[in-house]
Symmetry: C2
Subunit: 306 residues, 2 copies
Amino acid sequence: MTTGTAEFSKRLDQTAEDTEALLAKLLSDTTETDEIVRPKRLIEAMRYSSLGGGKRLRPFLAVESAAVFGIPREAALLVGAALECIHCYSLIHDDLPSMDNSDLRRGRPTLHKTYDEATAILAGDALLTIAFDIITRDAIHKDAQVRLLLTRALARASGIGGMAGGQILDLAGEGRFGDREPVDVARLQQMKTGALLRFGCIAGAILGQSSQKEYQALDDYGKALGEAFQIADDLLDVEGDAAALGKPAGADAALGKTTFVTQLGIDGAKQRVRDLLARADAALSIFDGRGDVLRAAARFVAERKN
Amino acid sequence: MTTGTAEFSKRLDQTAEDTEALLAKLLSDTTETDEIVRPKRLIEAMRYSSLGGGKRLRPFLAVESAAVFGIPREAALLVGAALECIHCYSLIHDDLPSMDNSDLRRGRPTLHKTYDEATAILAGDALLTIAFDIITRDAIHKDAQVRLLLTRALARASGIGGMAGGQILDLAGEGRFGDREPVDVARLQQMKTGALLRFGCIAGAILGQSSQKEYQALDDYGKALGEAFQIADDLLDVEGDAAALGKPAGADAALGKTTFVTQLGIDGAKQRVRDLLARADAALSIFDGRGDVLRAAARFVAERKN
């Protein structure tokens, strides 16, 4: 198959569109099949922060890693939707006044600015929770053990040793709990942003009940992609354009944060991205042509402008 | 078996002790088996809010509902620990300044007073997340489908139609988002506090792969127990003693909240509790003597002094 830029963009957009439609359905404010109360304000807040935006990169990685094993698209989209709920919850909580205190996200006021802090905290909690409802759905795989492994992997990517743990290390590095604590940028970002991206990449291997070698290949790929993603983010914070980003540039420098760029310099960071792309390519070699879209995804992540 | 008060207290205390030890192990700050980073501050905050206190009523319900079906205690304790993590996360987030703004919990400063808001939000998030790691553990049941059903039931008890949804309805009823919204106290509490208690009661039926009739019996029992629990709570807020409660009494009245007591009056509320205990007893009748401890648990919940 071709993986030229236009073809890749089309695939990415299609998954974003399908994810949007699926999330809109999963977070519907009416339901025909059960009698549970779905409090209007909570649902609206969850929809505000999870619909209408984003490249849906994490669901894309889940869909494309699953495609390597011929897993039905509908199953992978459900996994992607669960993953995206976790991602969106993390953005809501990170933006709170007591965390990063951000007013803008994707070019719109953050949730707590549009609603209020209590609603934002609860909407984040509810998105985190519903992810673990979605990931257990029967439609994902007929084998309960597969769904269980996905559930556990998602919990670990999100928890103490993953995203939540990375966020507290990040705050500690900013000196939020006293003196600035020393930061191992690679380790911190591997947890804070890397773990969820990596989950998207291994999701296909779990769904496909792959060999250990194939699982390892996707894990290596995901690890390289996650670091490339973050270095690109750090470079955009220095070189990027606020309009394209949908948020102010230069936020890291203003906080005096240790980033890949402060650690490696701009040229060093760019070289590191090239090395990581080579590593991602190498990891995918066992899949031959079936890895082409994931190869293109790594390049896309590294070269994106927002 | 006997279910006299002394015998019941002993069983309750034993489960509290076992739950404490299990949580201490699950939330250990060192680990021998994996290489994940466990950020010290996050772990300490999680331990602060989940160790050293509480009657562990929810784990007790999980253990005793499982005992009805002869499920090994160790398996039920893991389910109870997952449930308790959700309960503790909900207390942390409910206590936050933007929610109930509480300074005291179980006679100690709340987590955000001892640490800070950002740490409290993340510790709550991480407790919610680790619950879904714990509930998938192999030691809970050999059949993955059973663990999956538990996972899904726990997510639903905690989410939009359960605890998180109940909390936003509660805040809306206090007029936190504009005019006070009308409150259906029974429905609100069935979600906010009832759903997790009810999960503890049905956990045994899921673990025991019970008949639909047995599941329904435990669900009916759990529903009655949950409502009795909340009415007792509302009565304690009016008649209780701050020292025994470990938090100020009269908080509901100060907020002008609609409660079971404002709706039914003190005598009406007490009569309702008696009716609910009769309903709980009736639901358990199909289990004969195997339901004795759960019968005693309902009475304990209704008559507790804190």
